[in-house]
Amino acid sequence: MQAIKASSFHLPRLNPVALITLAAASLIGAPVAIAIFTGVIGGGGDAWLHIVSTQLLGYTMTTLAVIGLTAALILLFAVPTAWFVSLNEFPGRGFFEWALILPLAAPGYVLAYAWADAADVAGPIQSALRDVTGLSARDYWFPSVYSIPGLSFVMASALFPYAYLTARAAFSNLSLCTMEAARSLGASPRRLFLNVALPAARPAIFAGLALALMETAADYGAASYLGVQTLSVGIFRAWHSFSEPAVAARLAVLLILIAFGLQFIERMARGRGGIQQTATRWRTPRRQKLGPVAGWGVAIGCTLVLVLSFVIPVSRLIWVSTETGLGQGQIVRPFLNSLTLALAGSAFAFVLALTITIGARQNRFSQFIGRFAAGAGYAAPGIVLALGALFILSWTGFSVAGPAALIFLVWIYASRFTAAGAEPLNAAFSRAPASLGNAARSLGASRFQRLVRVDLPVAMSGASAAAIILFVETLKELPATLMLRPFNWDTLAVQAFAYASDERLAAATLPSLLITAAGLGPVVLLSLQLTRAGQSRAAG
C-alpha cells in the first residue's frame, strides 16, 4: 500500500509507460465507450419507451435468473470436483484432474444445439424413455432445454472449468499446517472443507466464477437458440427487429452494469480475508486416500459431471454427423479463417493484456485505467462492441466489406477478451516477490531495463496460459464475427450458427465439432501444463 502510494507520487505524472497503458486502455475501451455514448445521446424515442415499459424488467430478471442459476450449477460442478481432485486419492483421479477442463473447448451455443436435439421429445433420450416405460409422449413431464434452467445448465457446462481451475489451484495451495492444525483440533473432513478450506479458497473460486458469469451474461448464441429472452438477446432484437441501435446500446449499459456488479461482488469476496499466498512456504498437503465406497462414489460423481457437460453433447453431435454423412460444404476454408482470426485476435489481445498488466505495476492510475477498460470490454457482449466498431467504420468511411472489417474484428476480439488474458499474467506477478522492482533498481536497472529484464519475463511465466485462453475464447466468439466479417468470409462459429438457426443440425455438427476439436488441443495443453505445475509445486 505504502509502496504504491509512494511510487505513484514519486513518478512524473505522464511517464511513457503510463502513456502506453493509457493508449492500450483506450484501444480496449473505445468500442464500448462509443457504443454506450451513442446509446446515451442517441435517445431512442418510442422504441426505448416501449422496451422499458414492456420488456426491460423481463430481460433483466431473466438475465439475473440465468446468472444466479448458472452460478449455483458452476459451484456444484466445480468446487467438489476440485476439492476431491486436489486433496484426495480415488480411482481415476489423475485422469479427472486434467479431463475436467475439457468442456472449456466447447462453446455454449454448440452445447445448446446438442442438448436441444438430444433432450427433445423426439430425441434419443426421451425416445429411449418411452421405449423402456411404454409411456406415450403425453404421459410424462420432461425438463425442457428451451428454458432458463436449460440455458443455465448449458452455460454452466461450458464455463465451469474456469471456476474448477481457480478452485483447484487454491485447494492445492492450502497450507499443510492450517489443514493439520484443523485436523488436530478434531475437525471432521466436512468441517475441514466447510470451515477451513472453503473460506480460504473463496477469493480464488469467486475470481473464476466471476469470469464465467460475465461470459454467461454476454452470451448470445445459446440464449437465442434456446429462446431465452436475456438482455443479450434483447440487445439483438432492439437493433435488428426495431432498427434502434441506440436502444440496443442502452440495454448494453444495463448488461455492463450487471457485469460490473459481479466484479464488485468478486472484489468484496476477495477483500475479506482469504489466504495470501507467499510462494516459498506453502506445501501441498498429502492427498488423503478415500475408502473404496467413498472413492468410487467420488469417481462416479466426477464422471457424471464430465459426461453431462461434455461427453453426452459431443457424442450426440458426432452421432448426428456420422449418421447423415458429411455435407458437400466447404469446411477447410472456414476452418482456416477461424484459425487465422483466432490467432490474430488472440495475438493482439495478448499484447494489450501484457501492456496493461505491466502498466498496472507502474502506478495506480495505469492500474485503474487498464483494469477498468478491460473489465468493460469483457462485460460487453460481442454485439455491442461490433456496434461500436460499425459506428467507427461509418464515421471513417471504411467499408465493412473490406480488409478494414477484418482489422476491426481483430480489434473487437482484443477489446472483448483482454481481461481473460490479463488474469494469468497478473497471477504470474502475484506469485513473484513483491520487492522485485526495488531489487532491480538497487542493482542499477533503469525503468526501461526493469521492463525488459524483469517485468516482461516475469509476466511471461503466465504467458502460455494467457495465450491459450485467449485463443480458445476468440475461436468460440460468435456475435461480433457474425456482424463484422468481410465478404466471402465464413468462420466455423458463423457456419455452425447459420446452419443451426436454419434447422439444419446435421450440417451444423461438423463446424461445431471442428471448433471444439480446434480448441481441445490447446485446452489439453493448458490442462497438462497447469497440472504439472501443481505437481512440481507439491514436490518442491
Partner: protein, 371 residues
Amino acid sequence: MKTTMKTIASISFTALLVACSDGGTAPAALDDGTLSDAAVESGETTVSMEAGSNGTLNIYSARHYDSDKLMYEAFEDQTGIRVRFREAGANQLLETMRAEGENSPADLIIASDAGALWRFKDAGLTQPLPEGEFEQHIPERLIEPGRQWVGLARRIRGVAYDPERISPDQVDEWQDLADPSLEGEICVRSSTNIYNLSLMAEMIEKWGAEDAQSWADAVVANMARTPQGGDTDQVEAVAAGLCSVAITNHYYWVRMTQSGSDATREAAAATKLAFPSFGEGEGIHVNITGVAMAANAQNNDEAMQFVDYLLSADGQHRLVDETKEIPVIEDVTWPQGLDAIPEFEDSDTPLDTFGERQSQAQRIYDEAGWN
C-alpha cells in the same frame, strides 16, 4: 513442436494476407484484374482464374446454403463476373447496410421472406430493377409493383399432422386449428419468428384484426406445449406423439423426408403435409425468397445478369435443389422430394402486406400470450 507451431502460424498469416487482399478492392472496377485477382487465384477460389475478369458483383444474402456457393461459382464460370457475398440474417444485413450508408458495397440483396424484403424497401435500401424479360415468366404477384424486388422461389407455410389421429378435413383451413377439438394437439414455434409473423399478417389482411386475434387466442389454448424450437422440432414432436398438428414450412418437412438419418425420415413418414387455406377459394399462405437491387448498387449490369441467371433453368435448379423451395418459373422441374407436397392454390394477397402488417401481427401474438 516448435516447428509445427511456426508452420501453422505462417500458413495462417498467409491466409490472412490473402483474405485482406481478397476483400480489399472496394471500388472494384478500378484495380480489378491486377493485384487483387492474383491474390485470389493464389488463395482459394480457382474459378476466376479461368474466367478472367469482367467485373464484380457484391451480394448480401440472408440464405446460408452450400449450394449457393456452387451457384455463385457456376455464374462466375459462365460470365467471368466475380461474385463476392456476405451471408447473415436479413435483419442483420439490413442494419449493416444502414450503418454503412452510402459506403455500402452491396449490389443485390437476397432475403427469404417477403416481410424481410419489404423492410429493405421500407428503409430505402432498394431501387427498382430495370424492366426485363423475366417479368413474362413469373406470376405477377411475385413481382413488387414498383419492381423493388422479384420473387425467386416460393415457400409455403402449412401443417404436418398425424394421420392416425387427425382427418384431412380437420386441417383443411387455418380456422380449423382454432377448433376446441384440437385442444392440446398443436405444436408451433415462437411468434417472434418471421414465418409466423408473415402468416399472421396475411390472416389480418384476409379476416381482419379481430378474427385474427381470436384465432391466435384459440390456437394458444390448443397448444400442446409452450412454443420452442424450430419447425422441424414441431414435426418431430408430432411423430413422437406429443401433439398431432405442427405448423411448418413445407420445405422443412420435405427435407426431413430426404434426410440421411433414418429416424428423421421415419418421423416425416409418420406425418402428412397439408396446406390449410384462409377459407373457401381464399388460397393458401405462399411466401417467397426474393432479390432486390441495393439503392447504392455500383454494378447494376452485373446484378441484372445475375438476376436473369437466377431465373434461368440452371439458376432455379441451383437455387432450390437443396432448399426444397418451389421454383417460380413454370417449366423448371421440381427438386427431388417436392412431388410429395399437396396441390395448392395461391392466394391473391399482395406480398408487401407481410411486411406492412408485421408489427400489428406481433402485437396480436403478444396479446394472445403466444411467446
